[in-house]
Symmetry: D2
Subunit: 388 residues, 4 copies
């Protein structure tokens, strides 16, 4: 790679920009994972990680990326042949249900247009129809990283309750945790799946399961095979501040620092900051004369914004021009959205001027790619940032 | 923690001391794992990682710790009900076969005294007896981290061949790779399991499977469920320099640097350095009047040395005194060796004077713990280092 | 300090944003400054630092900040009672001549309005008038960090030559070196003074003197007292790759990396990048309806732009609002410009989108401070960046 | 450089081993040295640095190495033609008085054998003889880095008082501060000169003057020229948390961390640790059958030990062998001790096992160099470490 002056703009919806202080924390010497210093670290982290999930229940920390935490959520709570209800909200929801099928589960997969979240109405309908309670879990992706649509988890919880159905509620918060308001306990979520590399502002390599009592109970009889992902030995070892196998110590140093940053800023402030940047980004998109992918005002993501490019323009070409000319990475359209959208990540360690630079880069890149963007876009975003 | 002046001596048999240059490499900014810069990095690493395994075949890199790579080796090659032949060489061999049982496999577990490696003679015997070829895999831990005994893999290979048995050979090299001579291709190993945090001189969080053609073939019909660990999508994505899910980018930066260090030193020199430090350590142990756990001269580990403490002495108390007084971590006796041994790690980024400090600490600690160590121990070790 | 999310915009005209790779290089372990590894490093650096000065003559590296290198330039070439010709181009030119007076030199200080560079015409005039050659040196600040005005050094050289005057030419390039085209040898400069913390993209703490043969000759008779700054022992020790006293080794690691970045990008490209960002910044200033301090089109700085705020507005209040609201540091008006201007640094490790964010922040900040900035400003800058 | 496995043993008497946490602190982003965050940092440091000097008076922090702080001590308190009393305690004392001469001072230089500290008896004698009070300052090197001899500053203070002489007491603590008990106020020192790269555990590049009221008073009339080193503008700017010129911000981050480490350990404990390691080192030297350079039991240095090699052995060859074979740097004999001694640094971030490794390396190296060292040396040292 030749040197590109200045700092790369990593504006994909994760991995996000890792604060220097977190990277530095991670470069401390690795310690004995069976010694007292580690024990103290682990106990602290297992305690301190809970508020960002909005839980007082256990949170399991895996030394593995988010896809593993998906697998853990399924294998610890379900048995071969069980049915799960899932929603085609986008690429990642589709992958998760594919995983479920691959593990030997049945999936009731509700089709979607990738522009809306999971429908609470459909949840009620499907669960009411499931009089034999074959559906053991409802799987929802809180924030669809592929579309910038945030499903309304509290309404889905209410729907399950309305249907008086015993299904577990499993929620993927990989790209929402630490960026968008989330409350594991209050919303009655049974397993929350999360990863390190988005709102938690860490490099990838660590993932999480927050677990309700109901899920812990389900785990007693769940018989999908699992060893690495097994909650049992993990929770037992965690009680003493240890792990059943080698943890990834250096990412734990980073987590300690990242949690400190989040709590110092205040979770309320963190969520408000993300919402404000998302609003400014939508103002820019509309000012440019373009369309935001998400169609429901209640479901706009605070973490990323997916932008539909005009007919005849290849979104990947826009991205390539922006990378080449302005050293900024944007998210590609995934799956059936390939080439039709690009995604602007505005989550994690991020601020007004980085957003301004980001939007300026998109505005220039669109124009260079032959999709002239009205400069009103950036101007509208700045007015919002300035006045809000 | 109060401040302990100077540098901690991390002399457990892994995680090992990570070179500063590797830690610094890991603190570079995380990049887009779908972009061209990442692609170049991944292609380079997937290529450059092969020599340390002694293979020209594919090596899969998991963003997860070593236990996961164990699970990957089993789930990608075997089906429920298959039998594996395993050897009770120590704690980790025991755990691996427990995992196999947990995954629904049958295990023919050959008992051992934790002072010897896997027996090639028993391999021949068991495989010849298995006329119906129910044994699908022979599982061997190359270097037993819990005992400091290195199994003779080439002789086990020869034993399988002598028995004309089609079983796969799965080898755990977690604490040998990059420290003790190892040759995946030449020795006819089918799956080599490895981790980042030992001879590769990285923090924990990354693990590996090197895969023979025969194993790739077995994977086509293996039907243990696996998604995260599945070689298939991994190998396909790797061909283009990508991963089927988020990789742990920052550890990959570290791997690039660690491989550079190993290859700059030269693998032959790396292995010779470890062997020499192991010999000096054994000289010390014997000079102190103590016994090395490993009983077979052909099987002494180059990576660690397990030391039997005298009757009436609690090895964990020795370790606690050494940690408290000299800020050095040693490995505990695991499983049935708890309290009876301690383990000295002399692997990874390590040199003569750090070994001298290590052995001095053990010598003083033994004495303080009421197990007077003859100062001849350190002296003999130094003579070896000085003259060899 | 409470945590401010995201990265601070350090847009003062130095210290500049230090690339992560340079910071990481600086965090390597300190080595023996009398050993062979250091010797190799020093020899390499003393060689490699020359091209950025445009010289093949010696460059002295001081383990001290830039003010020291000013003192070195004077004390090594002059004697008590000598006269120097200096120009009131701004705050730093004023400080430098004050230093000269403090050291016992006479200063012929040509008054200036802080909006123009040193006048070649006045140089000719003063030197021609100095028939007795009492003027021993002409001191010029190449790029006035306090005003954003770049003096035309080649024309000043020509002026000295035209006057056939033997005075030395001493040039301060603290905020131009590595950002604005500069040629010590070709322009006949005798001592070039530079620092680490601007275009060289290092933290502060290191400074330089590039020295012509004529200056080396002058040093033989110069009798201002100096020990720390004395070129003699430095040049002698440097020949063998050493220093006469302890050097600041870790900044030298950083210098090695920073030079690599500059040469990889290519000095021509580095200068062009800075000029382009300066042009975009001026476009913004004018688009906002404001005035650039520098009045001569030939003298606009590539490194920073000083902006006059409207009558009745306190420039320091604008800066305070921008720091508070947008986490960006801008340069204050210094000396007699205090409160009347602010300075935008666009030098060092910098790129288009960071400039866009910077200008967006200034535009919003001006408006918030009651000096409404026409959004045309940012728009014009982006058009230039986009099309140029 | 080819890669040498493991960590280099940097056992010169400074620069010392910098703790990783200090190196990491130094790699934080450089901030605006005129902004509020810097102001807070500077105020804190200017306050927190005082206890390690044992003073409540001002301490000036120079962004330059220790030689500069020597020059500052002289130029701020003395005038051309003034006389200073100095002692030939070793290489650095000799260099300091050469500097004084070079600055135009007269030096009354008391000859010495480089094996003893400054003599309080001679101080009394010379000062009593100086009835006209031409001696304006007594210059003492607290810990002679070239010899491992620590002068008895309190006795020298008492000697000055006994002579009822008004001379200032200037003390170089470059290699003692933060390692050997030192009390600027209690001992009535007027200027204490210190550097960052020894007991303060920082890389080189920062130096200090602690200043008594009497010295501040002397500064009012001292007329040696100085600008960069001038206390006046420094103290004025420091009052508000700023500097008269660019400070070296990143080393200040390191200083904050290093002071935290020292105060967390407790200065008493720090001094005791150094004294213990020095005693163990002397035990080793004597056990090897060699002689410690320092001849007065009251003057052994806690920071380093100089070892006389046997007749016929070249100490530099011993050092070269140790560097080559064991990757350890030791200090050379300087000036008239070249080739006759080597110096073992045991200061800064250092602990028992690193000392054990260090002494093991020396023992082996001596033997390899043809100066067989009795293994009793290391053994005696370990016994001391073990029992003390």
């Amino acid at each position: 790679m030749t040197y590109a002056a200045g700092r790369h703009f990593l504006q994909i919806p994760g991995p996000t920009n890792v604060p220097d202080v977190v990277l530095r924390a991670m470069s401390a010497a690795t310690i004995d994972h069976r010694g007292p210093e580690f024990q103290e670290l682990a106990k602290q982290l297992l305690h301190d990680v809970k508020p960002v999930f909005g839980t007082t229940n256990p949170v399991v920390i895996y030394p593995a990326t988010g896809t593993g935490a998906w697998e853990a959520a399924l294998t610890n709570t379900l048995s071969p042949g069980d049915t799960v209800l899932a929603f085609e909200t986008g690429h990642f929801a589709t992958l998760w249900q594919e995983m479920a099928r691959g593990l030997g589960l049945h999936v009731d997969f509700v089709p979607g247009d990738w522009r809306h979240g999971a429908s609470p109405e459909v949840v009620v309908e499907r669960l009411l129809a499931d009089t034999k309670h074959r559906i053991k879990a409802v799987c929802v992706v809180h924030n669809e990283t592929s579309t910038g649509v945030t499903s309304r988890v509290p309404e889905i919880r209410a729907a399950i309750d309305a249907a008086e159905h015993p299904a577990l509620l499993l929620v993927d918060t990989i790209s929402s945790l630490g960026s968008i308001d989330y409350r594991h306990d209050e919303w009655g979520v049974d397993v929350t799946v999360a990863g390190s590399q988005k709102g938690l502002m860490l490099p990838p390599g660590m993932s999480f399961n927050a677990i309700s009592d109901k899920a812990l109970n389900a785990a007693k009889t769940a018989c999908l095979p699992k060893i690495f992902w097994d909650w049992g030995p993990m929770l037992t070892a965690n009680e003493r501040g240890f792990f059943p196998y080698t943890p990834n110590t250096n990412l734990m140093y980073g987590l300690r620092e990242a949690l400190r940053l989040l709590y110092d800023e205040g979770l309320e402030n963190v969520f408000a900051r993300h919402a404000r940047h998302a609003a400014a980004t939508r103002a820019a998109v509309r000012g440019w004369g373009l369309e935001v992918l998400c169609e429901d005002e209640r479901e706009h993501s605070g973490a990323l914004t997916a932008v539909l490019v005009p007919e005849g323009i290849d979104a990947d070409k826009v991205r390539a021009i922006i990378l080449d000319r302005f050293d900024m990475s944007l998210g590609a359209g995934l799956g059936k959205l390939a080439g039709k959208i690009f995604r602007i990540g505005h989550l994690g360690a991020f601020n007004d001027l980085t957003l301004a630079g980001t939007l300026a880069g998109v505005q220039m890149g669109l124009t260079l790619a032959g999709a002239p963007a009205d400069p009103r876009g950036l101007q509208d975003a700045l007015e919002l940032l300035q006045n809000d």
